[in-house]
């Protein structure tokens, strides 16, 4: 022990000497963004995975930037998640299939170009076109003619979608391939924003410094390290930025970002690392936020494997669900940054939007005896053991999978009933789960694209839907979803979706685990910090100083 303390002191002494010189040198060039009136704030960021194009960005970090530099036809209210008109003057329909969109007057891109109906139509056609490799192309799949510009196989047959027509400078019509009453509500998603001519004319230049029509404009972008956004003074919208700008700094590790916040080098961290949750109230007091986001964590099952899709399997799945002590896991492992799930959607939808607390009922309540009984009645676990597959590289999934297994093992009085099955990288995990190579339950996190019940159900449980990796299929569910989509009255549509959700429950198509919260911590310079339902800070509302 003595040696250790000595060493510590020695190390400090050396470091002190060095740090002294470091400070002397660094101080002159300092100022780090705080010099210009304190109006610019800095925020943690991670390098976007894909090129920063609206229809090509499918993760939060790239989406964060898009939501700062773009405004679409609709905008989701940061508090309620409701889709409100932004650039849309009106979106009219009489049959839930043909829509007429009128764009508001007076909007421009930050390079001065006017935002017209064509800005939207061209952008959507670009996003849908197979040739452009846009990873979010499927967002346009409801529009008629999508199958021509983005065929499942073979060559692209058309340049533009036949369902989109520019009818005036500020009006265009959309014809969908099927009835979809919530279509206007999906238009707040980043993939649907308008694009300026510069995007097509000088694509590389645009990617190096994107130009949009939102409250912020990109001042400089150093890929992999930093993006400086400044307030766009001529922004015509009502939600103009209340600060001078935002500097997004790329952090390799959210722990370092947190440390930088503590040291006063960073203003905002929008992902408090799990290891720091114990200290966060001590460190930050009321400068810490922990609110529900549109994210749910579930366990999906391989329905293509007959072991999981036989007569008694429903009971086994329900039994497993009852063997998981959600409350304990969310409290001990996640320090209450997750909320035990009681349905298959998210609380951010609100009761009117389709969130139904307690829809899962007893099936999501921990009861070891009932769990044991159900699994026994269902014919026992396939192979006497469940393996929960997850990716071990990010998101502390190992922690909770081990806890879930512990809970199952305890409930069943069997040390070997459940084990975790880690896979090294997310890419590998995804390639195995999407090609149906998994033989047991696997983690299936879902982050909503837009705050709609439809988005929590259809992509995950509809037959052959894009994220239905377990290949669950149920005719009644499909029929109810189709009906709900065709329903023009929003309240009725929500009711139909909940009916469909009950089908998911009765078959236990996936075990809901918990709703994920978004978290943020900030420095004393900031006020009015809030997270939207997508767990992204509402940057334009933040006040500095």
């Amino acid at each position: 022990m003595r040696g250790a303390t000595n060493a510590g002191w020695a190390a400090c002494a050396v470091a002190v000497a060095l740090a002294a010189t470091a400070c002397g040198g660094g101080g002159d060039s300092g100022g780090d963004g705080g010099g210009d009136g304190g109006a610019v704030l800095s925020s943690s960021w991670t390098d976007p995975q894909n090129p920063l194009e609206p229809a090509n960005t499918n993760e939060v970090q790239g989406g964060k930037v898009l939501s700062m530099i773009f405004r679409g036809l609709k905008q989701y209210d940061p508090k309620t998640g409701e889709a409100e008109d932004m650039l849309a003057e009106k979106i009219e329909t009489s049959d839930s299939r043909n829509y007429t969109v009128t764009v508001k007057d007076g909007w421009t891109f930050s390079d001065g170009e006017k935002v017209t109906a064509k800005s939207f139509v061209d952008a959507w056609n670009y996003g849908a076109s197979l040739r452009n490799n846009q990873k979010n192309a499927y967002f346009f799949s409801y529009i008629e003619g999508y199958d021509k510009v983005h065929p499942a196989k073979g060559e692209q047959g058309a340049e533009t979608m036949s369902g989109l027509k520019v009818t005036g400078e500020r009006t265009f019509t959309v014809r969908l391939s099927q009835k979809f009453s919530s279509f206007p509500d999906t238009l707040g998603y980043n993939a649907f924003v308008p694009l300026p001519r510069a995007f097509y004319d000088d694509h590389d230049g645009w990617l190096a410094k994107p130009v949009g029509n939102g409250p912020y404009a990109v001042e400089s972008y150093t890929k992999g390290s930093e993006m400086r956004l400044t307030k766009w003074d001529a922004y015509p919208g009502e939600d103009a930025a209340r600060n001078g700008g935002v500097t997004l700094k790329v952090y390799t590790d959210n722990n370092t970002a947190y440390t930088d916040l503590m040291a006063g080098n960073l203003d905002l961290v929008d992902d408090v690392p799990a290891q720091q949750l114990k200290n966060v109230t001590n460190d930050l007091g009321d400068r810490y936020l922990n609110t529900p986001a549109g994210i749910i964590q579930t366990l999906a099952f391989p329905f293509y494997d007959k072991n999981w899709n036989k007569a008694g399997s429903v009971k086994v799945r329900k039994g497993l669900s009852r063997a998981i002590n959600r409350k304990q896991i969310t409290e001990t492992i996640f320090q209450k940054t997750r909320t035990p799930a009681t349905d298959w959607t998210s609380p951010v939808l609100g009761a009117d939007g389709g969130y139904k607390e307690g829809l899962c009922g007893e099936w999501c309540q921990y009861d070891a005896a009932a769990a044991k009984k159900l699994i026994k009645e269902g014919g026992g676990l396939p192979g006497d053991q469940v393996k929960i597959t997850y990716n071990a590289d990010t998101g502390s999934h190992k922690l909770w999978v081990d806890a879930v297994c512990n809970s199952i093992n305890n409930a069943l009085d069997n040390d070997r009933a459940c084990v975790g099955n880690p896979i090294g990288t997310f890419a590998d995990f995804r390639s195995k789960s999407t090609t149906q190579k998994l033989s047991g339950p696997f983690r299936a996190g879902w982050q909503m694209d837009y705050p709609l019940t439809q988005n929590f159900l259809q992509p995950l449980y509809y037959t052959d839907a894009s994220s239905n990796d377990g290949k669950w299929s149920n005719e009644e569910f499909d029929r109810l979803v189709d009906e709900a989509n065709a329903e023009t009255d929003p309240a009725r549509a929500v009711e139909m979706f909940q009916k469909a959700e009950r089908v998911v429950r009765d078959n236990m198509a996936a075990i809901p685990l918990w709703y994920q919260n978004g978290s943020a911590g900030w420095s004393e310079r900031l006020s009015n910090v809030a997270l939207n339902p997508f767990s992204v800070p509402v940057y334009d509302q933040i006040k500095v100083g």
Binding site: A7, V14, A15, V16, Q49, A137, K223, G224, A257, A427
Partner: protein, 307 residues
């Protein structure tokens, strides 16, 4: 000498080809990288096929390798998934890591060799025991512990350094990370030098030098140190490669956007182009360092001359 250098350079070719092929195969075995690009949703088949074609993943691995190597010789290392040229990533990452490595090596040479000489000459004295204990502690404490502790102590508690290094990563900000990165090797260098010095102190040529009446500092620097440095130089030479490739932990802690960061990202995202590209360059660095080490032998000890 000239022929020796040429022979060594020619030997590098098979090593280079072999190691890049191995890395290429290993990254490819990990599975389909496109699957991870679309997040928690499956890429639709058409887009996935298109992406595979764009990244050349639709061809057999051997063909991918040949194309890749062909491109590498023209200086084209391919494109990362986020649309950036790998050469562009390299041009930002390598200088940063290079600076970090220089700082680390300087620490190793200055502190490590000095401590080694001091303890080697005073074997068994309290200072020797003290330094020995200290090196033991440094070796046994993992780098990330030292890194995080120093970061917390000097960056948050004391405010003497910035906990994270800025994008430009100038030398002065890299001092503490460099020390952390060097710490373990530094301890080894100290121990190596100490043993070597202690061993050679009793050798004939040192005794002769002392008998000749040479001043002490001259005996130590010209005779003793020069001969004792051979194992140390070998170690430091090999360490340059290790430091450049193995800076992942240190770079993560201090948010340095260097080679370690790019490699880590590349592996996480299964980005073949990035990983293979960076490793290719690292292999070259390793090979060159080894060559330089071998050449330095001759300088240090004229008896070891190559035909």
């Amino acid at each position: 000498m000239g022929r020796y250098v040429v022979r060594r350079l020619v030997q590098m070719v098979p090593v280079f080809i072999g190691s890049t092929l191995l890395i290429f195969l290993m990254v490819n075995v990990m599975g389909d990288p496109v699957a991870g690009l679309c997040g928690d949703r499956q890429c639709d088949a058409a887009t996935a096929a298109q992406l595979k074609k764009e990244f050349g993943l639709d061809q057999p691995v051997w063909q991918q390798y040949l194309t890749y190597m062909g491109n590498v010789f023209t200086g084209d290392f391919g494109t990362a998934f986020n649309g950036q040229e790998v050469t562009e990533l390299m041009s930002t990452a390598f200088p940063v890591t290079f600076r970090l490595t220089v700082v680390a090596i300087l620490f190793e040479v200055l502190i490590g060799i000095t401590l080694g000489v001091v303890t080697g000459l005073r074997r068994g004295r309290p200072i020797d025991t003290g330094v020995l204990l200290l090196t033991l502690v440094v070796i046994s404490v993992p780098t990330f512990v030292t890194g995080l502790l120093l970061q917390l102590l000097l960056g948050v508690e004391r405010d003497w350094i910035r906990p994270s290094v800025s994008t430009e990563a100038p030398f002065d900000e890299l001092i503490v990370p460099g020390l952390v990165l060097a710490s373990v090797s530094l301890a080894y260098v100290t121990r190596l030098t100490r043993t070597s010095i202690a061993e050679n102190r009793r050798s004939d040529y040192v005794r002769t030098a002392i008998a000749k009446g040479l001043p002490r500092h001259r005996v130590v620097t010209r005779h003793l140190l020069r001969n004792s440095l051979i194992p140390v130089v070998t170690f430091i030479g090999a360490d340059i490669g290790f430091l450049m490739g193995g800076a992942i932990v240190t770079e993560r802690i201090f948010n340095i956007h260097g080679v370690g960061y790019q490699l880590y990202q590349g592996i996480l995202r299964q980005n073949t182009q990035t990983v293979v590209g960076f490793v290719t360059v690292l292999v070259l660095v390793f090979l060159l360092c080894n060559l330089v080490v071998d050449l330095l032998y001759a300088v240090l000890d004229p008896r070891i001359r190559y035909a």
